[in-house]
Symmetry: C2
Subunit: 317 residues, 2 copies
Amino acid sequence: MTPQPLYYDCDTGIDDSMALAYLLASPEIDLVGVGTVSGNTDSAQAARNTLALLQLAGRDDIPVAVGAADPQAGTYAGPVPHIHGHNGIGDITLPDPVQSAVAEHAADLIIRLARAHPGQLRLLTTGPLTNLAEALRREPELPSLVKAVTIMGGAAHQSGNISPVAEANIGNDPEAAAEVLAARWDITLVPLDVTLAHTLEEDDRQLLLDSGRPLPTALGSMLDLYFEFYLSTYGRRCCAIHDPLAAAIAVGGVVPTLAPVVDVVVDTTDGPGRGQTICDLRGQYLNYPPQPGAHCRVVLQTGPDTASCLIQRLLTL
Amino acid sequence: MTPQPLYYDCDTGIDDSMALAYLLASPEIDLVGVGTVSGNTDSAQAARNTLALLQLAGRDDIPVAVGAADPQAGTYAGPVPHIHGHNGIGDITLPDPVQSAVAEHAADLIIRLARAHPGQLRLLTTGPLTNLAEALRREPELPSLVKAVTIMGGAAHQSGNISPVAEANIGNDPEAAAEVLAARWDITLVPLDVTLAHTLEEDDRQLLLDSGRPLPTALGSMLDLYFEFYLSTYGRRCCAIHDPLAAAIAVGGVVPTLAPVVDVVVDTTDGPGRGQTICDLRGQYLNYPPQPGAHCRVVLQTGPDTASCLIQRLLTL
């Protein structure tokens, strides 16, 4: 099978780094470009991290474009050093990248790649949706050029992580998320319902550290800080699998076991629900009857071997 | 044990009728008053239904007060004949009540009863919270006079029933619910998470019809329409146990198996989240650590025998 072209938009980020590595290890897809956005770290630092990771994997042929520095409303709230470190990658040091980011804005890279692969390009996002919303504004026909969009973000039945109902990627730019989720493309939403339900454990981290390969080893190192943060969530050193799970679902390495296609809207009010992904899951007792016009598949469950599938693929790098 | 005084506020309603019957069958409490509000039917019709049901049980000594006809914002949207029938009780005919509603407003009845039983009165609500909010405004010291408040309403992890996130009792008067949930009393919220998770089946209905007792038989008759409505939820004739479950939890006949005390706010915006009970359940992986100031116990699970406990008690009437 010919690898499918995939563009990845991220705020690199420890779990974005894992997602990037997962993509590089995936024969199903051809990573044709990466764009960055401010979230876990700012968009410029995210690009430096991405270029350094690609170089570590010997894949500095892949173009990296810096995207939006600020969300649509307001300004970037700043990095989260207690989660991702001061540099976004757990304060580990990687060799300086030889390559630089390309000159174009991530939104323009998306549009260019979509036009180069009409009807074929897949989009994966694991940060705020600012760049995708910007691309939609610059090219309203984008949905018809794109094969599918996979988004790590939101919370359906489960709680949020930056408010009782809002997840960080959506909550950090609700206006952009509202535009992207309303656009008429096939969307797969990978919410906290599944990404918090599976964890990587200390044994998994050790496998990465012992791999003898530069990128998996770097991931194992940066997970040290991330595991420490997740003590406050799980009560033990481990981590959720937000971004790598979205990558795995985007390429088909993990297949959801429950993922109804339902209406999803984003709360853009200034009330307590701001940033919530409101998913219409009222059909749950009837196995989710079709909703006319719905175009968002919300992943509610994946198999029990999800975390192990992720690690196994990362170890092939 | 001396029965505890309990005031019941309702929008009678088929499942309110079941809750009322459950209360009458409960030796743990003394039903000292009932107030009505517009919801399943209008507050005046709800009072007529309540008086007729009390008479059927030979308990027309219990005062019934008509409460608010309209929610705080806007006007009453009208009854829901496809769920509760045109008369609120599944279009069955009951003997006309001899007693009339008392002359005072339900909010004043609440205040009078609270003062008569300082620190002892329990409140149970299975309709919009308009009367409780009105009572709070007329007597700001009410929370210190009341022992506990049990509210059927809201949705925590699970979906709403009048919107993807809003449940009817809260969503039909979000402003009142916001005031009641913010007041400093001990609240137990019984949301759709548990009331939709348990069902009464055709066999249960038959037990009521065959009881040979007037009130259970009337309940069995009115459930016919209610079961028909729930075809659209469950795909079979049966029903959720919203209001009777709240009654059972209020009197201690059903004890929750998972009910963390967490912060709860009501979305009163005009956005897509309007009427949602936003419960801070982010502590779920740590068994819900204490939240300073939280005073709302959110019932997330009850035992597998919940529905059978309800029916067994109703058959003792």
